[in-house]
Symmetry: D2
């Protein structure tokens, strides 16, 4: 049994993680902590892996503390920059236990991770590519971080393949052509009833490839969180790993 | 047999009309004219209905000439304004033959016309509504005239039903939320391989309604053109009629 | 305020209705009854409208009892036959209060009701039509009652329009062409993650019309239930009404 | 310049190949042969690569003749069995020129090939998987060979990953659940206006992944044919290669 502690256990995502750990046959809940609790209560004796779902302003501090405590960490909080990731790498280099792991993922939905991965693979083979993300209307940012990541991946793959700009003879535009991210047009739909969805369209003369990921509710993230917990607990991924695609056999 | 003359017969659309008339069992081709030809060769003796597919700069003049010739006209050319429509109405009021008809449609694809009509019907029942149009990358305007028309219809139906603005808590936007037409966000995708497509999304808590029209090629307009020819030839629609939905039994 | 009693208040749907009534600004919960409770506790003094969500084996008896009690009823239970509907009509003819109403709907999701209605309207204008329904894998029947209803509506509309059979030159088939309902091929997908979805495809040469209704959770039925409660309470629909489309301004 | 001869040059596909070769900047048409022509006119002196699009009854004979002539062959004709492929391998082992290549592909549309490949990659990560193929109504077989191939790939990937049967509690079925291929339900839609389309649906609790390939016309196959011609001409793929995915950098 993998002993899992949860930091941010009363949050929207954290409470789902607690339920998912309790429901898993190969994991058991150790500590469930939230804001104000002392993270040093988490030790290698009571915990194998910590799952951290808090807020961008505190997550780096939490992770550094947990590294110093000698435990592995799976992080679902967003807002990571290259500087913050470097701080994690530096801390891991001086971690008390050999082979300690930190795993950070911007998205734990397997469908979204696969869509993003397939989009990068497909990008070199199509003249055109656009991204449409669709979310509930209470989401405050647009486009979504996932859509930006997908567009960046497509843009990089096109550049590597020597493709030029996507064909687009539109001469006038009052905004309908969306936001251009690394040469890829990204559209954001906000619609009551939806949760989190992404559609990637690729086109050549006479053909289209569509890759769509639908996340209907937060429960969709739990298989990905449990997969990360198991991979981190296996000890096969020492150091910092970013992105759930590293844990899929692709 | 309905005797059909075609003006703009060598154009992209007009040549399809010639083929469609030749293939129809209840219509036969009378005159096939193009730029430079004398429209007064068209008379009630040789022609029941004229199909006019030319360019915005000449269509009004053509239609006025054809009204004076005493024949009914089906117009597929775009670019009509309220002023131009009024000029057609005035000419029809003094037409040489009683009950003369002019029919003008911005879109002859039955799927697109139905999608537009259904969108207006559905609009009062949903909190959210957005429009995505998708076209080949050589189209120069965005969003499409059809998408603007659909968004205007949704906006008017929402207003009539007393609905407020669509819910949207997006705080930052680099353009991904599209162009707002009468309160409805409209997105334009340009993708090689596509022709002309429109998708209307409606959302309430827990549910979504999607209406999508795909026009894969210009042949998709011909059933609508022939329907218009038959309706105009029936004599049941004297005066000016705008929009193919008037000829559908909805 | 409309006084609403709920029969089947502890069931999956009934408990949502209780919540929806409590949340509505123009309705208030009167009695919440379930199996074993005495329905004669419901009277015109304490209740304007009863919402009945139970099981097919008891719903007719419940409705007859409630009619005799002099209250209006909105029924969401399925399994109604022509014989059962006739029994309701007969009881209403002898109801104690003038203008008493019973409303029965096979589906309260507005998106699904509109999709079904639009499919009937569109059917006369297309050579081809097929229906795909998609549900969670725990649904025991296939195709769904909604999909059968939609296919029947398309079949009737095609027959009325004088359309022949859909074109289909498939010579061999191991079952992939689906179940044929009134001449319309119906396909049933069962997929974890989905709830209740229906897609209707119409095709002509060069064009396609797609109408899709997604019900992501049971909450999607509540706007329709509340609409029905309000319409029944208005007194404008005496007698038996079947189908939510009668309450939409289409 | 790659010298390309076409066998079946007057056929539906072959005539497109002739056009595509003429339009390519790095290829030129050598011989264009059809039924009744003598294939031994094709020699290494006048031809680098032959593209063969004929019919299943003659393709094996054509390929064996062309191997004996010492030229490389790209084959788009369908109907290949393991026995026929073995015959090609045996002939290649005794080919007159060292490193001679034969490439056979059931599908040259890059979108379809990628969809099939991505479906195999994604399959281990989802509880549910179903395939819907959609074609014009003049297609005589159902489901399509591409859909069967995709379903077989998903079934094999599920078996390798130790997944059991897809969840499905449907108790009654009049055919709506489709044809089961290696444990995967496959549905075939026939709709006027469509050409060749495939949609693969994957589901987990709370999430869905959809991969869709649309081939709108035969021109969609030409980029894949030219890619195959270039790869075969490169000399890097001696012997028999089956499937365009071998020529994509995945």
């Amino acid at each position: 049994m993998i002993k899992v502690s949860v930091v941010g256990a009363q949050g929207r995502m954290g409470s789902h993680v607690v339920d998912a750990v309790n429901a898993a046959s190969d994991a058991e809940l150790a500590l469930a902590l939230d804001a104000g609790d002392d993270l040093t209560a988490i030790t290698p004796e009571n915990t194998d892996v910590v799952v951290e779902f808090t807020v961008p302003s505190v997550t780096l501090g939490n992770v550094l503390t947990l590294i110093a405590q000698g435990v592995d960490v799976v992080v679902g909080t967003t807002g990571w920059t290259d500087e913050k990731l470097d701080a994690v790498r530096a801390a891991l280099a001086q971690a008390p236990r050999e082979g300690q792991s930190v795993f950070i993922a911007p998205n734990f939905a397997i469908s979204a991770v696969l869509a993003d991965y397939f989009a990068r693979l497909a990008a070199p083979y199509f003249e055109s590519a656009e991204v449409i993300e669709l979310h509930h209307p209470d989401k405050v940012d647009a486009p979504s971080g996932t859509a930006i990541h997908t567009a960046q991946g497509i843009g990089a793959a096109r550049a590597k393949a020597g493709l030029g700009a996507v064909p687009d003879n539109t001469q006038t535009d009052g905004g309908s052509r969306g936001q251009v991210v690394d040469g890829v047009h990204v559209h954001a739909v906000r619609l009551r009833g939806l949760n989190a969805h992404e559609e990637v369209l690729f086109g050549n003369a006479g053909e289209q490839l569509v890759i769509r990921a639908d996340s209907f509710d937060r429960g969709s993230f739990m298989p990905g969180v449990l997969l990360a917990v198991r991979k981190v607990a296996s000890g096969e991924f020492p150091g910092l790993t970013v992105g759930l695609d590293h844990f899929l056999d692709l």
